[in-house]
């Protein structure tokens, strides 16, 4: 029996439903409804589009969003610097960010590494390592909104919702594994290129 039918039956029998109206939950469901006329993207829709979190159920996404911090950055504002202590993992909710391989980034000097767009993420090492140092500098390429999760949030999540916490850790490990795979492929390609150049010389 569906939840709605069960409630209807209980109300019909004059029984006390024992449930209070949960306004934040209703608002969340309203915002994330596919029929919602709201043009702006809800957190729920946003996380549904992130491939590594596709094992999360709707309810898990709802619980997960409760642990996130919304941070707004202006264009060119520094998000973190290479060498800083790292504690958080960010999802790009809107806008884009530039990644540089130097603490004092300069595009002319060739420090620019990559530009990350909406629905991408960065900083996952900061969440997992005990004493993490940021390996790159990240700045906002335009006005950007990030959703960040930090070490204390992960600890709280593991304490309060252990299954959700374990699932999120598994997904984060998957992100790291993907990055490692990418790096390995790049190293192999670079080695091949160096060999070619050596042979040519």
């Amino acid at each position: 029996m569906s939840y709605e039918n069960e409630m209807r039956d209980r109300i019909g029998r004059g029984e006390n439903t024992g449930e209070r109206l949960d306004i934040p939950l209703l608002r969340y469901m309203w915002d994330s409804s596919p029929l919602s006329f709201l043009k702006k993207e809800s957190y729920h829709d946003f996380f549904k589009k992130i491939s590594v979190l596709n094992s999360f159920t709707d309810n898990e996404i709802r619980l997960f969003t409760g642990f996130l911090h919304r941070r707004e950055f202006m264009a060119n504002e520094m998000i973190f610097k290479q060498g800083d202590s790292g504690y958080g993992f960010y999802f790009i909710f809107s806008g884009s960010v530039n990644i540089f391989s130097s603490p004092a980034p300069s595009e002319e000097l060739g420090d620019f590494v990559i530009k990350l767009e909406k629905h991408q993420y960065f900083g996952e090492m900061g969440l997992l390592e005990e004493f993490n140092r940021r390996s790159a500098t990240v700045t906002a390429a335009e006005n950007t909104v990030l959703l960040g999760i930090f070490k204390p949030d992960l600890d709280r999540m593991l304490q309060v919702y252990p299954v959700l916490g374990a699932k999120f850790l598994r997904e984060t490990a998957l992100i790291m594994a993907n990055r490692m795979g990418q790096i390995t492929r790049e190293i192999v390609a670079l080695k091949k290129r160096i060999k070619e150049l050596e042979q040519r010389v």
């Binding site: 024992g18 449930e19 209070r20 911090h69 919304r70 941070r71 950055f73 202006m74 060119n76 504002e77 520094m78 998000i79 973190f80 060498g83 800083d84 202590s85 790292g86 504690y87 958080g88 603490p103 140092r133 930090f150 070490k151 204390p152 304490q159 309060v160 919702y161």
Partner: protein, 342 residues
């Protein structure tokens, strides 16, 4: 861009300074606020577990508030209710106590004369008695003020506690939004760590004091020492202060042992009871409960207590330890960052 970031940072620092100044100038408001915050931090691990996924949040909060308030205010109220009769009793016993102390001092002075050939020309008993009378009179004259403060706290502490239980999440989100981006990560992590450490420290000290007080009481009951409950309570409460507390807690029991006319009550009994209880505390309870929370050098702890007593008396003597632990953490973080960037 840099100007906007600097302005945000300056505004945030000014906001913090204003909060500290406000707290300093309005202690009647900030003390119950801080007190409610401590109860909130102490109960948070339990309420978090009990309210997760439950719709009975309000019931859990209400139950915790009731338990906390009964535990805190009932003994205070009982003390205030009986204070005049207790004071009369104490006043009636004072001349007798003075006479006994005078006799003991004279005995001691005679021994001193036998050993060194001259009498001590001081009268510590009269000095102590005058001090006790003066403080007693002061306490009685300020009694209406204390009573007013108690009623004020009875009203404000539950109010603030309810605010912390129901609104702390929203308040926390707003506070975190005010933190500038440039210092957000570090501030958030340090703030959370401080809250956890502070709550854990208070709970650990509370448990430690209860265990030590119980051990002393059981020991006194076993040997038939007078006033086991009140002396056990004093030993437990004073034990909250690290290193200095056990010595302070030992003094009343020692005085009772010295002044007692009962031949079965000896100083050695009390020395053994306190020695064993403090040994168990030092070897077992402190390392298991407290030391893992505040990893500070004993010298730093003692210096902090002395500074705390100068800052704000007994309250700061207790609470300065987690603050010092937090500043140690803060300096370590700043030092780590400086060593990377310089």
């Amino acid at each position: 861009m840099r100007r906007i970031q600097t302005t945000k940072l300056v505004l945030f620092v000014l906001m913090l300074v204003a909060a500290v100044v406000f707290a300093f100038y309005f202690p009647r408001l900030t003390l119950p606020f801080g007190f409610a915050y401590i109860i909130y931090l102490m109960s948070r691990p339990f309420t978090l577990r009990l309210t997760t996924g439950s719709r009975k949040q309000r019931l859990v909060y209400f139950a915790f508030m009731t338990i906390a308030l009964i535990l805190l205010f009932l003994p205070l109220f009982a003390t205030f209710y009986n204070i005049d009769t207790d004071f009369m009793k104490l006043s009636a016993q004072l001349p007798e106590a003075q006479r006994m102390m005078q006799e003991k001092f004279m005995e001691l002075n005679e021994k001193f004369h036998g050993r060194f050939g001259f009498h001590l020309k001081i009268d510590p008993v009269r000095y102590v008695m005058n001090k006790i009378r003066f403080q007693g009179d002061l306490l009685l004259s300020r009694f209406p003020d204390y009573l007013t403060a108690l009623f004020e706290w009875m009203l404000l502490v539950p109010l603030f506690l309810y605010f912390f239980f129901m609104e702390s999440k929203n308040f926390g989100v707003r506070f975190l939004r005010a933190i500038p981006n440039s210092i957000f990560e570090k501030t958030y992590v340090l703030f959370t760590q401080f809250n956890i450490k502070f709550g854990e420290y208070i709970v650990a000290k509370f448990i430690e004091a209860t265990i030590l007080g119980t051990l002393v009481t059981i020991g006194m009951l076993a040997v038939g020492f007078p006033y086991p409950f009140i002396l056990g309570f004093i030993a437990g409460t004073t034990n909250i202060l690290p290193y200095i507390g056990p010595v302070i807690g030992f003094v009343p029991a020692l005085l009772v042992a010295i002044l007692s006319k009962d031949p079965n009550v000896t100083v050695w009994e009390i020395v053994v009871i306190f020695g064993v209880a403090n040994l168990i505390d030092m070897i077992l309870i402190f390392p298991l409960l407290v030391s893992r929370i505040v990893n500070l050098h004993p010298i730093v702890v003692v210096m902090s207590i002395v500074v705390g007593s100068q800052l704000g008396g007994i309250v700061w003597m207790i609470f300065i330890i987690p603050f010092v632990a937090f500043f140690k953490l803060l300096f370590k973080e700043v030092y780590k960052d400086l060593s990377v960037h310089l």
